[in-house]
Amino acid sequence: MRRRSPAQVTVVMFVLLIALIFFLFPVVWMLLTSFKSQSEYFSYPPVFWPKDFSLRNYFNAMALPPDGRGGLQGLRDSMVIAACTTLVSVLVGSLAAYSLSRFKTGGENFSFWILSTRMFPPVAAALPLFLIFKQFKLLDTHLSLIIANTIFNLPFVIWLLKGFFDELPVEMEEAAMIEGCTRLQAFRLISLPLVAPGLVATSLFSFIFSWNEFMFALLMTRRNVRTLTIIVPSLVGGHEILWGEIAAIGTVAIIPGIFLSLLLQRYLVRGLSMGAVKG
């Protein structure tokens, strides 16, 4: 790096700090709102710092409408759906990614097809899925959302993992196969452990995409299944504006995202650019 004077560094830091405040403000504002009383968030000028950090909103939110299960149910449903989607996508996706990477299966058109599924506007897939689920009486079940989310997660997982497999030297697998391993054994015993970090990163991304998903959840669920992302707007649209409670649910809903942003530092570039930019 070219040399920088301390003054320059200070200016850079200052500008970055202002920018950071801008990008974190809405999140912090929601976090603070989740601790405020109603008279605090409905006041002008706005109260920035809640007087006492009360957890009342959290307790209320966890047991809120429609039927007294509220946030807890949302937490459970979001968790089940995101975990199952990730499990299916990574299990099936890692095999396919390996095949694409090692054998160039199906050539370019096949990989293009896989990637283009990922790029569909979800709304384009929503209508036929809705009608099909309706036919099979799958609406308002976890399975319907697991299937819908898999449409977008599986191609993502395949594409990202293909990049990780591409980077592995093939010599080790070849050596193992000369020693008598089958291809499947070589895959399981050699390649898979070597891409373990990539596998973990991919799984976490897949989890968070499914966790944050909203449109399918909105269209495919009614009462039995309610993800956290469904509960937030359903409360915003209600008669009372329950900002404190919504903020509490919102805060719970973004914890995995914040956590992963810190955890996935090394893989953020890759995961978010679909492997197009190597970080």
Binding site: L115, S116, M119
Partner: protein, 302 residues
């Protein structure tokens, strides 16, 4: 086992297919099958609001979309505005931040992760945050503006005023996605060789010249990838609209995704929705094709 090259190839093929098969079956079942179903629907008129049965209407739906549906074109215009101005601002600010971050030495990774928080949280939650921030009576934004202008400007109805509602949406999108562009531009910057800069320094180039003549051309591939990804995302923009404005006031903030949703799940024009979905699929496929070709060219180092 023989060692004939043919059998060997066949065996290899078989393993390749065996590995890819589960994914192919799943993708066929959950994407191709619904799409064929939808394609059939696109040529039918099926209004759930009337009791009329579905009937075949050939290209009527497509004709209506392209020539008689002002609302479709308006939603396309909103989407384009968000791409041109919204993504444009995200790119400019994101590049600026990346250049600044690139000047720091160590404490960068934590800083980058903090910047990335907006990208990682659910858009619905981001929408709710801005719903509070934009609130005309209790929102902190109006309070800040009132403070900054000494009370002259106050009480903006950010999401109810048709003149500024789209700006409010765009601003939310900018807030959420600028860090993403910052991230990939930063990744691009890190792969730029320092020798080029040293050479430019020796030749007495000003920082301004260095930026336009060296940095930007080298960043171009990453920037194009960023623009393509964000363009495709913009066609999907739904969550924030649903939460912040609901497409209103009127339909000034209705994106193409949101309008499709309304046609399908509020007006129940199933055939028409399917046709509209296909129009979008065609556009997205074109962008995706460009994206992939471009990426391939990069990887081949052309």
């Amino acid at each position: 086992m023989t060692n004939s090259p043919f059998l060997d190839r066949l065996r290899k093929r078989r393993t390749a297919i065996f590995f890819a098969l589960p994914a192919v079956i799943i993708l066929l079942a959950i994407t191709v099958f619904p799409l064929i179903y939808e394609l059939r629907l696109a040529f039918m008129s099926w209004e759930l609001t009337t009791n009329a049965p579905a009937r075949f209407v050939a290209f009527q739906n497509f004709g209506k979309i392209l020539f008689h549906d002002a609302r479709f074109w308006s939603s396309l215009r909103v989407t384009m505005v968000l791409i041109v101005f919204g993504v444009g601002i995200q790119l400019t600010v994101g590049t600026g931040l990346a250049l600044l971050l690139n000047r720091l030495r160590r404490p960068r990774t934590l800083l980058v992760s903090l910047f990335l928080i907006p990208v990682m949280i659910a858009p619905v939650v981001a929408g709710f945050q801005f719903r509070m921030i934009y609130h005309d009576q209790f929102g902190p934004l109006n309070y800040l503006i009132e403070l900054a202008t000494g009370g002259r400007w106050r009480g903006f109805a950010w999401i109810a005023n048709p003149k500024i509602a789209l700006i409010a949406i765009m601003f939310t999108d900018i807030w959420q996605w600028t860090p993403f562009l910052m991230l990939i531009v930063l990744a691009g910057l890190q792969s730029v060789s320092l020798e080029l800069y040293e050479a430019a320094d020796v030749d007495g180039a000003t920082p301004w010249q260095t930026f336009w003549r060296i940095t930007l051309p080298l960043l171009l591939p990453v920037i194009i990838i960023g623009i393509l990804i964000r363009a495709m995302d913009s066609f999907k923009l739904f969550d924030i609209i649903y939460l912040v404005t609901g497409g209103g006031p009127g339909n000034v903030t209705e994106t193409i995704s949101f309008y499709t949703y309304l046609q399908g799940f509020k007006f129940f024009s199933l055939g028409y929705t399917a046709a509209m979905a296909f129009v979008q699929l065609i556009v997205i496929t074109v962008i995706a094709k460009v994206f992939i070709n471009f990426q391939k060219r990069q990887q081949e180092g052309v």
